[in-house]
């Protein structure tokens, strides 16, 4: 009983610490968001601004941009903690490491995934996405971006000790993002055509549950290896 309460306290303390750090360093929140906006703005400039073309591409473009924005911000999950040694403290703590990792991943999602979710309707407007698909877009991003953070955390844990970890991280993580990309963008596309999307959403939900249960364990063992 007592242990459980101290565990949840540790979870909340870690979450609050990461959030406070992020709020103090506003660029950590702002930059991925800006990147997301700029990348999506590049597409009409590259392929032309025909409304039908943009509408057909919008779900894919938004999802690919979300993938890249998540990738760009992933390194922040563990990098600074690795450099100042607090990551080792987390691994040495008496609490189950995977729960503490979950706190860090949740913080990362709140810092990078949630803002992305909030600006995505704006991008939908820019890319001519039909009004009816906006709700689905929000839902798929709400289900999908946590998976990106969870799976990405494994990749960061594997590469955190490396000097040139950044590019390798993207090689490791992007292939694992394929199912999220497929189900996410297809749900939005289907919704834009006015067809119900419960199938894709429940598949995304299942993927989220799977990632929630397995990723913290894999991340913990990857961190132990990287720091050994």
């Amino acid at each position: 009983m007592n242990g459980q309460r101290s565990l949840s306290r540790a979870f909340l303390a870690l979450l609050r610490r990461d959030l406070v750090l992020a709020v103090r360093q506003r660029s950590e929140i702002g930059n991925p968001l800006l990147f997301f906006l700029i990348v999506t703005a590049m597409f009409p400039l590259g392929v032309g601004s025909k409304p039908q073309l943009l509408q057909a591409m919008a779900p894919g473009v938004i999802w690919v941009a979300a993938l890249l924005a998540a990738l760009l911000s992933l390194d922040a999950i563990f990098r600074s903690d690795f450099e100042d040694g607090s990551l080792e403290q987390i691994l040495l703590s008496a609490h189950p490491v995977s729960v503490l990792i979950l706190a860090k991943v949740l913080a990362h999602w709140l810092i990078t995934g949630l803002p992305l979710l909030l600006v995505s309707p704006l991008i939908g407007v820019l890319l001519n996405l039909p009004q009816g698909a906006t709700a689905t877009l929000l839902l798929t991003l709400a289900l999908g971006t946590p998976i990106l953070s969870l799976v990405g955390a494994i990749g960061v844990a594997l590469t955190v000790g490396l000097r040139k970890g950044g590019i390798i991280l993207s090689l490791l993580v992007l292939p694992l993002y394929v199912p999220v990309l497929i189900f996410g963008s297809s749900a939005v596309q289907t919704a834009a055509a006015g067809i119900p999307v419960t199938g894709q959403l429940s598949l995304l939900g299942a993927l989220l549950l799977l990632a929630l249960s397995l990723s913290p364990v894999a991340t913990a063992s990857a961190l132990r290896i990287s720091l050994s």
């Binding site: 494994i154 992007l174 292939p175 694992l176 189900f183 799977l210 063992s221 990857a222 290896i225 990287s226």
Partner: protein, 247 residues
């Protein structure tokens, strides 16, 4: 039996054992390869729909099978690495990755060479080809990670984690790609024209698949020996080897 496996886990014993075994595996592979090639290129009849171009199947399908089989071997090695820290499992997984990537590459290239006369283009986003492409990316990621980590034992354990993450993901990736493909592509072109394949066409396929298997076993043992030598170069048993100690 258990004793044998225990002995196999020790690098010097494995080094000698693999050195004796690999040539035999290589000879079996060569025999199978010669018969398989003759059977596939000369004996097997022409396909009534695809003509002679279907003969690419004898490279394409065995290579695709190997690409998955080698990943499974790496996954088993990853479990042995993570739980029991078996050194030989680390070495075999390391030696397997480039071979797996090679077979995946081969499956993709031959698929493309087959696709050109059949579909009219070099590349179609066909479900199976696409998931093979993602598999290639997974292999290349594993190799990149292994090469990036300085300490090779740490590298082997890191790649073991990645391999296991990949094992969970491969079926998900595969089925999501197939699902995506049926959504966008309509009915895919079935590669084997007839629902039941002529036995005279099937036998060379199985022969070639077995030849590739033996090829893999032989080469992975050779590659593993080189890897062991590199890791253990400062140990007493390596210094005692006749090639090192001199006559």
């Amino acid at each position: 039996m258990m004793k044998f496996f225990h002995k196999l886990g020790s690098p010097p014993y494995f080094y000698g054992f693999a050195g004796r075994l690999a040539p035999w595996l290589g000879i079996i592979c060569l025999i199978l390869l010669v018969i398989g090639l003759y059977d596939g290129l000369v004996v097997a009849p022409t396909d009534y729909q695809q003509g002679e171009s279907y003969r690419i199947i004898y490279i394409h399908v065995p290579a695709a099978w190997m690409s998955l089989f080698i990943y499974m071997v790496m996954a088993v090695c990853a479990v042995l690495t993570m739980i029991w820290r078996v050194k030989i499992a680390e070495v075999i997984a390391t030696a397997s990755a480039p071979l797996g990537a090679s077979f995946t590459f081969l499956a993709l290239v031959t698929g493309s060479l087959w696709g050109k006369p059949m579909w009219g283009t070099w590349w179609v986003w066909d479900g199976r080809l696409t998931s093979e492409l993602i598999l290639l990316f997974l292999y290349l990621g594993i190799i990149a990670l292994y090469n990036a980590v300085e300490d090779k034992r740490t590298a082997a354990r890191s790649t073991a984690v990645l391999t296991l993450v990949g094992v969970v993901n491969i079926p998900i990736i595969h089925y999501s790609v197939i699902w995506w493909n049926t959504l966008h592509q309509g009915p895919t072109v079935t590669k084997l024209g007839a629902p039941s394949i002529d036995p005279r066409m099937l036998i060379p396929l199985l022969l070639m698949a077995m030849a590739f298997q033996f090829y893999y076993f032989a080469v992975v043992l050779m590659q593993a020996r080189a890897e062991i030598l590199e890791r253990e170069r400062n140990t007493a048993w390596v210094q005692q080897l006749p090639e090192v100690n001199g006559p």
